[in-house]
Symmetry: C3
Subunit: 341 residues, 3 copies
């Protein structure tokens, strides 16, 4: 079960154009394209007639024609044309979904469209702000999306999974504090006087120890914003500071896959080479996560319910997020359309 | 559930010889071979002893010896020899099936052999008639066989799936009429004054519009004979006519796969180059269907019962065939051995 | 269901060292490694925290550190360190298993460790005896382990599966006698005046017929020792005798896979070239079995309970072993920890 009444990132803007794109979201097939004027459109990617994905068809103006028997559907999902057929029932339609471009991403609302308030789109402005320099990408990961949420809410794993990029023992050995802010969860870790991890040295040329902190904000259904700050130990040398946001939009694909839309944005060192280093370092680190997450999912599948997890302090953030998701899923199941508020 | 008391095409004659061939039919493994005199034999392809496929064994004269422990089975499925064993129970046998060569195909009867009347083999004589020039082949398709039956009974898909070979808008925009003839279904479409599709131009050199018609006959369990006629518009110029039969023998493989045995036979233009064009055009068109059908099956599997189909006029033939199949399957389940009549 | 209170071969000694090795045994993931002093250790290969296999982590001295969040576990499975965590519950542990080196194999006990008596390790001394020259290896086979037990207890298959190496018609045509010895099963076959199989000719240069015998001893859970003796027909020419033991340790991997640890040991012809011939011949023959066993498992899976097996004389040994296994599994299920005795 997924939270349906919520905005999820469905795609990066340049992935969606005049060629229909199929992507599974919340265990539904979705086809996305743009009208001739560029407006993004999302429909369920199954022809209601004989189940061929509409993404195998082609665009006729702003409408999508099925590649099997030629049924045509408008941007609202209504069937507008059937070859050799005069009567077209208003019930012959495919579900359409709100698809909105914001912060240089396309956000989809799979639930009750009456509740699809754009003001609820999470604040990911750092990806579309002249003061910040972003770089980002997309991973499709063969694991349940909550495994990736868990991963991002307990960064102690940096010391073990990402030791060659952004991890040092300091991340694991300094405990984090967890606080609830309504349906959000904030996890804060302070790491005074610690070594700079390899990527930071490469990026900012730190020569000695640093004072480092992480501020992680989870908001449902599954967005995670990480604020990372580092500067030379005991200084307030902002010229030498390294501050960045890691924006994570996590979208369930199926019950055993998810999409990880990520961006890393910084407000310093505009050199394109630094951007490249940030991009390559992030791809390397997230790829290390993909390996861990997919093996974790495989083990859960193979053990098939035969194991329980143990919990300790570092799980506080992840477990709080799981409790919030569980409550919101239940609330939706029992009827409130606008469960996210 | 499949109709069992019926003839299905099991193989093309040259596929079955002195090397045992395994093929799944009606969700049963079947081994086929020929005796030294050439008589085709079909047995269930599982040794009743320890379940190795008999097709992994070898022929000893007209009998088949299992490749594991050397049990030998006769053409009637009776176990005739067991190493170091004198007693052989008459119950130790593997099911045998009637396998009959007709119309240059091998037809199998998987149900009650007492009901296996060769007169029930459908009329596919065009594949074995001096007046007709056939060419044909075999596809194994990863879809339920009824998806292929649906496909052939609604040729409006030609305009979309086969646009570069045999499809024009005329096939979609001219409605077909459906009639029941006992347990058969006939679907007729008349297309006066329409453009010739690319393959027809190549075959017959049509220079202008044509008068075209399709006559589709479905007979249970799953045979479809398509009669296609075209001639220059407003003429009765039989010298310039293009008439052919498409013979389709559709055999369930498993619950999610089927065999498509097809032939295209014409009674004009004996030039072998025309035969080659017919063959290549047919393979290209049927391959386009395979793509559609396998994606369709994948979507049905992934949606796992979460979708209903919408129905409109063009589905009349396919739905009539489905109703007939359902009724015959039910009739067999409730006891009548010879349900096909 | 498997017999759990029993010794199974888990690995060959040189497979387990200072790099953690994952292997599935009795449908559990097991990680094996050696301490700095060389003592073999076996733990369940799932971190109890978030289910990553511990084998993806690394050794810290004699302890194993998870590669995800850095939890450390001792050789007894107890969690000894968690980053940034002072309290460690004594319940935070991973199951550990007895792992013992004997007869140049590593034996594991997956059941009640109080019952893990090393005296119960089966007598496979021929693999570690100055009077015998062994060679051996390991196959992982995608079949239920009892299919391999069946295979080894009915060697009549040699005449068909291994005709190019160790099989002749004599093995099939001479019946074997079966006797129960407590929970053991002995199967004896005498083959006077029979041709020498190809591998024997290669090994010992037999020029005429031989007197050959097989003595097969099954002991639960799934060990099989085969004693093979051949000498020139009608002689007692021990100089020309070929005697060897085939030691088979069969370990369930999952419900549809198993491990075959094998060794062939002889007490004659110490020439290393003969060892090489024995090794290559055995690998070739066992590979032929792998093909048969994996197809057999595939057929059983596809037929999904729709078939029963027929039984005849040659199945006496295998069926007796199955009855013993069934009884021991049931006895364990109803409570006796030390069911093997």
């Amino acid at each position: 079960m997924f939270i349906k009444n919520a905005w999820y990132i469905a795609a990066m803007p340049n992935e969606v154009g005049r060629s229909p794109l199929q992507r599974w979201i919340l265990d539904e097939p979705v086809v996305m394209y743009r009208t001739e004027k560029g407006t993004p459109v999302a429909l369920r990617d199954i022809c209601p007639h004989r189940s061929l994905p509409l993404s195998m068809g082609e665009l006729v103006g702003d409408q999508l024609r099925c590649g099997y028997h030629g049924l045509v559907f408008g941007t609202d999902g209504r069937c507008t044309h059937i070859p050799a057929q005069t009567h077209i029932s208003p019930n012959w339609r495919v579900p359409s979904y709100r698809l909105v471009e914001k912060w240089r991403w396309l956000w989809i609302w799979m639930g009750d469209s009456n509740a699809a308030d754009e003001a609820l789109i999470p604040d990911f402005h750092w990806n579309d702000d002249p003061d910040w320099i972003p770089t980002g990408g997309h991973f499709e990961i063969k694991c349940h999306y909550q495994l990736l949420v868990d991963n991002l809410l307990d960064l102690s794993h940096l010391a073990f999974v990402h030791r060659t990029t952004i991890g040092t023992d300091a991340v694991a050995e300094n405990p984090a504090t967890v606080s609830r802010e309504g349906d959000a969860v904030r996890i804060v870790r302070s790491m005074p006087s610690c070594p700079a991890p390899p990527l930071y040295v490469k990026l900012r040329g730190f020569t000695g120890e640093i004072d480092r902190s992480q501020d992680i904000l989870f908001t449902p259904p599954s967005q995670v914003v990480i604020t990372s700050r580092s500067m030379p130990k005991g200084t307030n040398d902002t010229d030498m500071a390294l501050e960045y946001r890691v924006l994570n939009g996590i979208t369930p694909g199926t019950n055993s896959s998810c999409h990880h839309f990520w961006a890393v944005a910084r407000n310093c060192a505009p050199d394109p080479n630094v951007t490249r280093l940030f991009h390559e370092g992030s791809v390397k680190a997230f790829s290390e996560d993909v390996t861990v997450l997919e093996v974790q999912q495989t083990m859960l599948d193979r053990m098939n319910g035969r194991i329980d997890w143990m919990h300790y302090g570092a799980d506080g953030g992840g477990n709080a997020a799981r409790a919030i998701i569980d409550r919101l899923v239940k609330r939706e199941a029992t009827g409130s359309a606008n469960a996210q508020r």
